[in-house]
Point group: C2
Chain length 494, copies 2
């Protein structure tokens, strides 16, 4: 692949000087439009041989662009903060906001290539990880993050010569792993792996651009123009919403409705004394498992969804009692902030992924995408339609990284909800919990019912199954939830 | 996943009779539009438990639809014809034409599931194959083949009971592999694998629809409505061409042009006597390798592309001389036939994939998509842009199936081409080879030049690299081509 790289390409100083002013001006204009548009962002992945001039390209880009909306994102060996979380966490943390350009050194490809070439990770696993990257990048692209993937290319002989020259310099940049590859055979292995990665991950939306980098002027001009093309795409108005196919409904309208929630047994209840004893047992189990040495390599993510007034908060309180407050955090999820709206919708949840050994509880969660955003038309059908797969991928990443993901739907009947709302209106210290919106939401009960059925059908996976709990009786609900969490922790602890 | 399947769903006879006439009529109307549109086709994958009623559903669909444009595509253990070719060949062979509906029993998922559940193929390989299916289905969808994926679901207990009942019947359908799964543990393994497959391959465009199949009426009504929804999508006018992003050009316009062809050494030549001797040696090598026992498990696919009058035919003739004519076929590729136009563009090449032990030579090939179709605007930018990846996938499948894929670009200079054209005009027996179009094509030389550079850069893979051969001297060219083929065959033979 990229056989044309073997052809020498040069741009002399005069020619570069001739095209540069226009390039500079165009880049600035386009970037200004990107910033004003506040819809899209750009990630420039800058990879390639050592000595090919990644640093020089970076400097050149800072010279050409408005640096206030430009960020360098450098990733090296994971810091303690980073290695305490799933691999992709650090890239999510730094996701540029709409209008921004992030230049990435040491992208998600780096680790995949290093594991394969240096640590001998097998070819199938290598391919699997590249396919996961494809899904990740597709999601970013659909969420408005445009990706420019640049590979600065040097002929192997030239690369070795430059590496040698670099070694002599005292103020040279940080040593990178690729330098460990000195043998000819290993070099060829790296090149083969890189072309395989290019093959699998060169999508129409984000293909790899290989930049011949022997000549500095040619390299910089080509990078500048490639960035210009991506900017041009990123400032286009988004395509009309219609063409994306509406996800097939799980259940045609003509057929009798099925509601997974109505199939639950709402008569479940626990008498007072039994409740206290069983709650105590489950809390102790949870304390024991979360304080074990093994848990420090794991982590617990709990999702609480449910009807309004089903008792999420009071259940979470019982969980909290069992946990060390230094390693426990509740994330109440309501409307996204400006910062969150400027990024892919999963960003706000990735930033709250706990470090290993910690517990994060989400009081409402990413499932808002397929619940409230679907019901209220905040998300288009193709957006919530693809979210099932994106959410499954997200939870898969958490589980692969060793986390235990437990998800609850707390269910009450419509009558019971009315009773609780009225109680909230009556009792002064409960009144703050009730908003006019709560009453309004009740009217959409059948829509939520259908959305919950789809959600459970499509996102209850073997690694992160849903647990539907009837919360008509709060005691029953709390004990069920805590027992499920304890069971899952026990199972994960082996 | 699909937890809501546990809820009983029924539709009594009266209710079914009430909704059926409208369903029947709607299906026929929509199908008529699909047929009249001649743009899209539909594949209905019908999978699920034995005894869930795949046959009954099939009969019902024949009852509802215009059977002239409906085909049942049943795949069981591969026939000799099928097992002599790559796995996907049989599905390509039967690809429905635009306007047709194909109902698939034993789809590409069947083998992937069976290998994993019954033959113990590992999880990583399983995932890899599912990802390959995703790429395949995305390509089909983009080419106008809509896919409806139905899984007829039965509770395991009900499934076992039906299986038992089936066993007693004398005229029961063919035994399938799933019946071999009797143990509870294995059944659960199958269910886990199926949900994993659903998770990975449920895309927005072609999600899995799980159909509760305990009640016949409910099952049939749901299948009918699901098909109706897909038909509705398939008869929509295609989305406007603009929104799909134009693939990034390999080389920005502002930079000096690079042509991989101009970098070749056109002075290569071979004197007459040396030519005969060397040609003879290479032909003998090719004869020897293609007649070895090992080759009967392999196969050879040669692609010849090049400038007009570069000498493709005369080179192919020298290759033919070395081969057994019973196992050798040349496919000259020109404008597609009506039958070919009605299907995804790779179909015409899949149908010509040789069986193992045979040699197929393509005189022009699937690369037309990124050459003439790109240059002449027969394909939209997003179509030829995604073709690089699709072609790489296609050749990857051939190589994985044991074939040797050798690709040649025969290059001559523009001057030499003019000389040969004039000669063709002069010499009577050569005149048939020259058309007015050949002269017209010459004007687009720079466009072809750029297209060839991109093509080689993006599709020269480690498993199927391009070989660029200067054909200024025909002797040189022929010997180079035959040597390359012999070398590749030798390498493949280990």
């Amino acid at each position: 692949m990229f056989d044309s790289m073997k052809i020498e390409r040069r741009l002399d100083k005069a020619a570069f000087k001739a095209l540069e002013p226009k390039l500079h001006e165009d880049l600035l204009d386009l970037q200004a439009e990107l910033i004003a548009g506040r819809k899209r962002s750009i990630l420039v992945l800058l990879g390639g041989a050592d000595g090919a001039g990644k640093g020089a390209v970076l400097n050149q880009l800072y010279g050409w662009l408005d640096a206030r909306k430009l960020r360098t994102l450098t990733y090296e060996a994971p810091t303690c903060e980073e290695s305490a979380r799933p691999d992709m966490w650090r890239y999510w943390r730094d996701m540029p906001a709409a209008g921004e350009i992030g230049i990435v050194l040491g992208s998600w490809y780096h680790d995949v290539l290093a594991s394969h070439v240096l640590d001998g990770e097998g070819r199938t696993r290598f391919t699997e990880r590249l396919n996961a990257i494809n899904r990740f990048e597709e999601m970013l692209w659909r969420e408005g993050v445009f990706i420019l993937k640049l590979w600065l290319y040097l002929e192997p002989r030239e690369a070795l010569a430059r590496l040698k020259a670099l070694r002599g310099k005292p103020d040279r940049p940080v040593v990178r792993e690729w330098e460990a590859i000195s043998g000819k055979k290993q070099r060829r292995h790296l090149e083969a792996a890189a072309t395989e990665a290019f093959r699998i991950t060169s999508t129409v939306e984000a293909p790899w651009i290989v930049v011949p980098s022997e000549d500095d002027h040619y390299r910089d001009a080509m990078v500048g123009h490639a960035l210009m093309e991506v900017l041009e795409k990123a400032i286009q108005p988004p395509p009309p919403p219609a063409p994306a196919p509406e996800p097939v409904k799980a259940l045609p309208d003509a057929l009798p409705k099925v509601s997974i929630l109505s199939s639950l047994d709402f008569s479940n209840a626990l008498p007072d004394d039994e409740y206290r004893a069983r709650l105590d047992i489950q809390q102790r189990r949870i304390t024991r498992f979360t304080q074990s040495a093994k848990f420090s390599k794991s982590g617990l993510v709990c999702v609480f969804e449910g009807s309004d007034a089903a008792g999420k908060s009071s259940t979470i309180m019982r969980l909290r009692q069992a946990l060390d407050p230094r390693h426990f955090l509740v994330h109440p999820i309501s409307a996204p902030t400006d910062e969150e709206k400027a990024r892919p919708y999963l960003w706000r949840f990735w930033r709250s992924v706990p470090k290993r050994g910690d517990v994060a509880v989400f009081d409402r969660s990413w499932y808002g995408r397929v619940l409230v955003e679907r019901v209220e038309n905040f998300a288009a059908p193709d957006e919530w339609g693809r979210a099932y797969g994106e959410i499954n991928d997200f939870e898969h990443e958490l589980c692969e990284a060793g986390y235990v993901v437990v998800k609850f739907w707390l269910a009450i009947t419509q009558d019971e909800q009315a009773r609780r709302f009225e109680e909230r209106e009556r009792v002064a210290y409960k009144r703050f919990k009730l908003t006019p919106e709560d009453w309004r939401n009740r009217e959409k009960w059948p829509l939520y019912d259908a959305a919950v059925t789809d959600m459970v059908d499509r996102t209850s996976t073997y690694y992160a199954p849903w647990t539907l709990v009837t919360a008509q009786d709060k005691h029953w609900c709390r004990v069920q939830v805590l027992t499920t969490i304890a069971d899952r922790l026990e199972k994960a602890a082996g």
